[in-house]
Amino acid sequence: MAELKRTPLYDEHVRCGGKLVDFHGWELPVQYSDGIIKEAKAVREDIGVFDVSHMGEIFLRGKDALKVAEYLVTNNVSKLKYGEICYTPMCYEDGGIVDDLLVYKKTSEEILMVVNASNVEKDFNWIKQNAESYDIEVLNKSDQYAQLAVQGPNVQEKLQEYSGVRLDQIPFYSFKEGRFNGIDCLISRTGYTGEDGFEFYTSTEAVIPLWRKFIEIGAKPAGLGARDLLRFEACYMLYGNEISKNTTPLEAGLKWTVDFEMAFIGKAALQQQEEKGLTRRLKAFEVIEKGGIPRTGNKIFSGDQEIGFVTTGNKSTTLNKIVALGYVPSKGFKLGKEVEIEIRENKRLKAKVVKKPFYVGSVNPDKHSDK
């Protein structure tokens, strides 16, 4: 086995009772001593802190930075003001997804792309390859940045007094550079939990005192298990599960992130898919029969016919319901429609189509907007 990479917080995780696992080549805590349910609850009801230093930071710098960013992703970067962020897929020519990421519009000549840890190399090469004929530099600075996500309904109130930046003046999906407890950070009002929250990008040295400060303030350390459960309840995509090179943003229900007014890689394929009509779509299901929990890859049936597959399934501990996301034909599976999910050989459970997301937390674009 290749040696696992560790974030600067490795020793802190061990100290907090972290149960470390191999996550795409990174040794990270799946949970701490109190367990996933309590960690998820802390984030839903108060605040929690996640070490997400494994995420990738790729910078586009130079005269054509904006132009290249606009062309690489499906969402409309040109509409963003400086200091704003958008969530977006990045597609191949055939409309399949290279990765989903956040685009930070820093200046006319500097764009930051925050990408999934599992995709850093692939994304970096893809971006470089497509930027060759332009006047920009593509820099993979993932090793120089650490990142913490502090998430939960009480986040602004609990963090404000230590922040050199007015947190209430950072609207949802915006960022500011400044100091937190004396530490230089890029502070962005983003997250992956469905709750209000901030993500702090800082140096690999400064992240240890920052982590300790958040814990001192009362944020509960939360691991990958809670992170996955929370993003799943909020129906956020996980690359490799809901989205991949074999799915398009339209199938995944990400049409809101695709701006056909713009020129971007994959546009023709997506437009064609849009015109022809989708054959399948990502839907949400609630299991309405006892017997187990659907998991990734389980088959979905309608009568005797296999019609699709589960991308993620779990018990939502916030809602106390067993729920799943999965691809089924785009026609004929409206809200309330019953299907069966095969959780193992010869065992199928009744489920019905429900609304996405399963859970709406304290994330509210309007609440933090100063418009």
Partner: protein
Amino acid sequence: MKKYTESHEWIEVADGIATVGISEHAQEQLGDIVYVDLPQEGNELSKGDTLCSIESVKSANDVYTPVSGEIVEINSSLEDTPETINESAEGEGWICKIKLSDEAEVEGLMNLEEYKKMVESEG
């Protein structure tokens, strides 16, 4: 006295009836348990058969019967409170009771000390 299996179940025998559960170590490894697919009373099982499935927020895990026999009682309270296994894996979190068809099968199982050694060697 409790006996343990390599697949992390425990049993305790009294009057030809074995109470079966998963070990404290196993529950720790599983993390928060959210569902137990309990076996059916009256089922006849052979040693090593799948007894039931325990689901944590992380994964589904099969539990195997350490002995052959008939299931004579199940801990139906686990249906509504599966977390009892996390709280008391080797006590109130027992899964079912099995009427032994071959008491000699118990002899081959590990005692606590042997089980602890095995767990340590698994690292």
